[in-house]
């Protein structure tokens, strides 16, 4: 059975791009357009991997990532961040939140800055999911 990959992304063009890469590489794409919908779909679909954007409406990727990594039922789902926000910013934001008293969370399995080449995304997916 094909592994399920959830893409949480507000930009429709990127959703189509990621979805195409996933299908071509034998994965089943599940799509969500913001963090709120993303969290709901994780509960419903139990994806094998999550590709997560950072700058999104409603619930941003920073918060969603923390929610995932501090929830015992979801913390082991691998996460690839795919964002125009730099990795350095992401890591600093996590440090800042930890300073404000939140739990420390691990780094994501991979961090890809937009735009990403389809082969690069496919290679990382293969490395994580096999």
């Amino acid at each position: 059975m094909a592994k399920k990959v959830l893409n949480v992304e507000d930009d429709v063009h990127t959703r189509i791009f990621v979805s195409t890469v996933l299908e071509r590489n034998g994965y089943t794409p599940i799509l969500a357009k913001d963090g709120e919908e993303g969290m709901r779909k994780i509960g419903e679909e139990r994806p094998d991997l999550i590709i997560l954007d950072i700058l999104m409406p409603k619930e941003c990727g920073i918060k969603m990532y923390r929610e995932l990594k501090t929830d015992p039922s979801f913390k082991d789902i691998p996460v690839i961040i795919l964002s125009a926000v730099s990795k350095r910013t992401f890591l600093r934001s996590q440090e800042a939140l930890t300073e404000f008293g939140d739990e420390t969370v691990p780094e994501p399995q991979a961090y890809l800055e937009k735009p990403v080449e389809p082969e690069d995304l496919a290679e990382i997916l293969k490395k994580i999911l096999g």
Partner: protein, 292 residues
């Protein structure tokens, strides 16, 4: 009433990142989420004879806004803030209202905005239109005032104008929720000239005593939270006196409630909050009577 999530509306001309950054003092009052909104005016991309809808132009304008927002968001993320962004095409007020509703923000921050003369005659300014339609507090923010008095923390010295209405109570609630951000509050009540015109001296004295007592009661509530609170009773034209009070006590922001007058009622009778929204050189925080 707490401010944890704000909607910052920018056209990249009036309100820029320094204005947004100056609001970060609200973190002490619980702010942890900023939603950015840029509305591309429809006329910039609208159909042109022989060319059609300017899709390419829209894409370009969206991309420009997106790059700016990513830059702003990176700085805010690094400060531990949550950030979301919306870029839309259309009319500002309906877009602001719909994003504010979708995101469930506690405060809308917007620059004072004007329309074309003809449109303004019929519909009023965009700011007035927003104040009429929203059920959320609105900060009409001119970051650099003519007097240069708005510093790095616009919430530092508040002039809280009370008229003893329900929206005034809400305004007081909001000021109480800003605990930790505000250093001084000057509470002002203005007795309208019209109201005292036909009164005897004794009646005026009675009115003065009643209002002073109410002001002192509010002071007592605020004093429990912060040390520097003063109350003042003014007489005259309400909007004019509020502006005077703000000047005299070196306020960095005026806070007041607003009623829900229709556009025609407002045109005839005038509205203090709407007039101040058009004229005040200081940032103006307006709280509606009904709050969502």
């Amino acid at each position: 009433m707490k401010i944890t999530k704000i909607l910052f509306v920018t056209d990249f001309e009036e309100l820029l990142f320094n204005a947004l950054q100056s609001l970060m003092g609200l973190r002490k009052a619980g702010l942890n989420h900023v939603v950015l909104l840029h509305v591309i005016p429809r006329e910039k991309v609208a159909m042109r004879r022989g060319i059609g809808y300017l899709k390419q132009e829209e894409r370009k304008l969206r991309e420009i806004a997106n790059i700016r927002f990513i830059d702003w968001a990176e700085t805010l993320f690094e400060q531990g803030m949550e950030v979301g962004a919306h870029i839309a095409v259309g009319n500002t007020v309906p877009k602001v209202l719909s994003v504010a509703e979708d995101e469930g923000v506690d405060l809308i921050v917007i620059a004072r905005r004007k329309r074309g003369k003809l449109e303004e005659l019929y519909a009023g300014s965009e700011t007035s239109d927003l104040l009429r339609k929203t059920v959320r507090p609105v900060l009409i923010y001119n970051y650099i005032s003519q007097s240069g008095r708005v510093g790095e923390n616009p919430f530092e010295r508040l002039l809280l104008a009370l008229d003893w209405s329900l929206s005034s109570e809400r305004a007081l609630d909001l000021v109480l929720a800003l605990k930790g951000t505000v250093k001084r509050v000057d509470i002002i009540h203005v007795v309208s000239e019209k109201d005292i015109g036909k009164l005897s001296k004794t009646e005026i004295q009675k009115l003065e005593r009643e209002n002073k007592k109410r002001l002192n009661d509010v002071c007592d509530v605020l004093v429990k939270q912060r040390s520097d609170v003063r109350s003042h009773l003014y007489i005259g034209k309400i909007e004019e006196q509020i502006r005077k009070g703000a000047w005299e006590y070196r306020a960095t922001m005026i806070v007041l409630g607003t009623g829900s007058k229709s556009i025609w009622k407002e045109r005839w009778s005038g509205s203090v909050s709407h007039t101040l929204a058009e004229r005040s050189e200081l940032p103006l925080l307006v709280i509606p009577a009904e709050i969502k």
